[in-house]
Amino acid sequence: MSESNGNTATMPNIQLNLVGLSKNDYRGAPTTLCAGCGHNSISNQIIAAAYELNVVPEDVIKLSGIGCSSKSPAYFLNRSFGFNSLHGRMPSVATGAMFGDHSLRAIAVSGDGDTTNIGMGQFKHIMRRNVPMVYIVENNGVYGLTKGQFSATAEMGLRLKYQGVNHYFPVDVVQEAMASGATFVARSFAGDANQVKALIKAALSHNGLAILDIISPCVTFNNNDDARHSYGWGREHQEPLHDFTFVPREQEIQLGEFPEGTTRQVEMHDGSTIVLKKLERDYDPTSRAAAMRVIEESQSEEVLLTGLIYVETERPSLTDLYELPQGRALNRMSEAELRPKKSMIEKANAMMF
């Protein structure tokens, strides 16, 4: 569906990558997400990573569930096939889709509601199977698209204006990934453009399931009760000025420079804060025990660890296990290859009695 293909090479002053494409060839439709939404910056980093890695867009498929986050595959890589599937069920669709042409790379985008609420079962099982794909959870602790209810990653005790207090134990995407044997586990923050891009690149190079838990603040609904007042017409007016239908324009939170091994306190749109801690440069992500330890430590310190937490390259991916032909796609096989020869019908009948 690309309109820009083919012509880029002839246009002057356009940076082309090694496969002869400009960054434009990696873009998608204009976003319909809120201005300032973290999900948009992640889309931008996907575009940048694919461009810089010289990925051919036709070699990628995009998958998602349902939600604001799950809309985003429409906003990058127009020239890639995409499937915006059902709420919480992207993992199964992706699993089946990977068999069509196993030379393709898959980028899947989901939300925290899509993945950890309705999608918890499929999320856990796709990790067990080590389906080779990049699985990005755009994690904002709420259901954006249905207007701000708690998702399962919301912290315990959080109070939202229209939702009351969240009493339930929060889901930690990274910990779930470790428990289910994901072979690539990382966390980042949407506003940390460099880290997000670097992790996407690494994930795209991984042969197995790569989980990226990216904290991606919802500018519109992740506002707790008190903070919501700050939208008032000047902070002095303590009454809400408007109803639900107004979405004030907010700036996205950008982190800028954020060196490895340091921690960073981030003020969210609602005035609450989270503390991010970037893994040390010399952290060794290949040890499962080490990964479990740093996760446990960061949980008791109440910081969110970012970076590549764990990677395992030995385990065969799902498609490896199925002994598919080298360099040939299942979906291009001919009748001659797929249908047994005529003589084989005798054999089938002989099997019966």
């Binding site: 690309s2 995009k62 020239r79 669709v93 393709l104 299942l330």
Partner: protein
């Protein structure tokens, strides 16, 4: 093999009933009696006698009563009969009822370890020392139940006149030619045969005799047949979740596909089969695979169909080919997992919220399960829509005498799919959902197509012809109208109904699936009683004009089916409201296969109304 009884039997030939009775073996499940039962079934089949075998089993693994009924029918009738002429009782829990179930004049056999009073003198009763054979065989203690079951094979063979060579052939097949188990089992059968010849006196009229009515037939269960059909249909992807009575579809696929599809020197497989975590995931995977250009199938039963509802709607609206086998069992809910039914017709046809309708294929024999195994892919890829193959427990899991599987008579139809070269040839730019040909079916592409024009974005949300997101009223209506048109087109690709007509019949019967043998048999009885009945066997929904003409040309047409609500009757009323009053509904929903007697009597009762 001229035993004393055989001689005597020959002498009173007039009273004999040859090759025309049912025998039922009552055992406990998990006791291994299936091996004995299929051995008997196979031996009879090899003797050239038409047979059918039906297993009535409980929904647990071990220790509950189970019955296996073999009908032998010189006339080739394969339906369940309501009477039991020969009964073997091996289970104390049901002994009294089993004894009561024998028809007057019938024969009753039981293991002499069952100590019960014999309260009937209108039947022949024989006990045999089943446990003793087991003991003498030298089998270890924990296998003696199993061995005891082999004993009744010998006794029945001797008393009914089953050819021992055919028994050996059957064992040979069952144990895949492995000498030791064949010899071990055969030794028990030989011993009990000899014991029977020496000790039992034949007083009942039921016996078998070799004939030549099974050549040109095979015996098969529908699930294995369907799986083999899928293999010949070039299945590329299957995802499934275990459920009775569907598991054996996917398991046969797994167990047999390499044999047929892996070729000498071939590099890499041409298929993948995944056991999913549940049915939502199973159909999700199949839909993903269908989208990616593969021939994808999933198999399940009622509860799984319910869980597939949302994905069925997505596949319908996003127009993704996928084949779903529904091996129907008794519902609603978990219902009776080991009983048969045709109860998912209505809900599956309308599966999914919003306006949706689905193609149903209705196999009526194991051979047709094979055929629809491959044809369902052609239809699904041609129409770009899910296809549900509606089999049932009886057809799927029981052993049916059926015509041999036939090699597909048409090349694989991959439908309107475009690859790089096809796209190059197009004059107008390709659009995923544009009705270029006016038949409602648009052209699709699949991931991996490297043409920069080929990508499209699949979604369950409103879209325009270019597959772009749209909320515009006219886009929605246009798509939905095209889907209606597509379903009109679909009719031409669906299997035609099978007609059995005769001159002068004013009454018609419509049935489908595993109801077929009971209808065929009942027609003969009705004709004998003076009522000519024409018969149309449906093989697909939506219907085509043959059905309309059939109903129009009869005074009254009864739809006979195995569900409470007359589900197919309802679909016919909706299709032909102008002929609604010409349709009648006859239904049974007790979980048992239909019997011809019941069909005949129900139809006569309706006609007398």
């Amino acid at each position: 093999m001229t035993t004393p009884q055989a001689k005597e039997a020959k002498s009173k030939q007039k009273n004999e009933v040859v090759n025309d009775f049912s025998m039922t073996v009552a055992t406990m499940n998990g006791s291994g009696s299936q091996t004995s039962n299929v051995t008997l079934l196979r031996a009879l089949f090899k003797m050239g006698i038409p047979v059918s075998g039906k297993n009535l089993f409980p929904s647990n693994i071990q220790g509950l009563p189970t019955w296996y009924t073999i009908r032998v029918s010189k006339d080739g009738y394969l339906a369940r009969r309501e009477t039991h002429e020969v009964v073997v009782a091996m289970n104390a829990d049901t002994f009294v009822a089993d004894l009561a179930s024998v028809v007057p004049g019938g024969a009753f056999f039981y293991g002499d370890h069952l100590k019960f009073e014999i309260t009937r003198d209108d039947i022949s009763v024989h006990s045999f020392p089943a446990k003793q054979f087991a003991k003498e065989s030298g089998a270890p203690a924990n296998l003696r139940d199993y061995v005891a079951n082999m004993a009744y094979v010998g006794v029945l063979a001797q008393m009914l006149g089953i050819d021992m060579d055919k028994i050996r052939e059957a064992l040979d097949y069952h144990f895949d030619g492995k000498e030791k188990p064949i010899a071990l089992n055969m030794s028990v059968i030989d011993a009990s045969y000899a014991w029977s010849a020496a000790n039992l006196k034949k007083t009942d009229p039921y016996r078998v005799e070799a004939m030549d009515k099974t050549s040109g037939f095979i015996m098969a269960d529908g699930n294995t047949a369907g799986a083999l059909g899928a293999i010949f249909g070039g299945v590329q992807f299957a995802a499934w979740y275990p459920i009775t009575p569907a598991s054996s579809f996917a398991e046969s696929l797994s167990q047999n596909i390499a044999e047929f599809r892996d070729k000498e020197g071939q590099e890499g497989k041409t298929y993948a089969i995944v056991q999913a975590e549940d049915e939502l995931a199973a159909i999700g995977m199949a839909v993903g695979a269908g989208w990616s250009g593969l021939r994808a199938v999933t198999s399940t039963s009622g509860p799984g169909i319910s869980l597939m509802t949302e994905f069925a709607g997505l596949a319908y609206y996003a127009e993704i080919p996928v084949v779903v086998w529904d091996i129907q069992r008794v519902g609603p809910s978990t219902g009776l997992p080991t009983r048969t039914s045709q109860g998912d017709i209505l809900s599956t046809h309308f599966l999914g919220h919003g306006d949706s309708e689905h193609i149903l294929l209705l196999p009526g024999s194991a051979q047709e399960c094979f055929e629809f195994g491959w044809r369902s892919f052609d239809i699904s890829e041609r129409v770009q829509s899910p296809v549900f193959v509606m089999s049932d427990l009886d057809l799927g899991m029981n052993q049916w005498m059926t015509k041999p599987f036939e090699y597909p008579d048409t090349p694989m139809d991959r439908g309107k799919i475009l690859w790089e070269k096809d796209l190059e040839k197009l004059k107008d730019p390709w659009m995923r959902y544009k009705d270029v040909d006016g038949d409602g079916i648009a052209y699709r592409t699949a991931p991996g197509n490297r043409s920069a024009q080929s990508a499209w974005f699949a979604r369950g949300t409103g879209h325009d012809e270019a597959a772009k997101y749209s909320e515009r009223p006219e886009h929605w209506e246009n798509t939905m109208d095209r889907l209606t048109r597509k379903f009109q087109t679909a009719r031409q690709y669906l299997p035609e109904p099978v007609l059995e007509t005769q001159k002068g019949a004013k009454v018609g019967v419509i049935a489908y699936g595993s109801a077929d043998p009971a209808i065929l048999e009942a027609r003969d009885y009705l004709a004998a009683d003076g009522l000519k009945v024409d018969y149309l066997r449906l093989r697909a929904v939506p219907f085509n004009d043959t059905v309309r003409e059939f109903i129009a040309s009869h005074d009254k047409t009864y739809v006979v089916e195995m569900n409470r609500d007359g589900q197919m009757y309802k679909l016919l009323v909706l299709e032909y409201p102008e002929m609604a009053t010409k349709l009648g509904s006859i239904r049974k929903y007790d979980g048992l296969p239909l019997s011809a007697l019941w069909v005949k009597e129900s139809l006569q009762a309706e006609e007398q109304k």
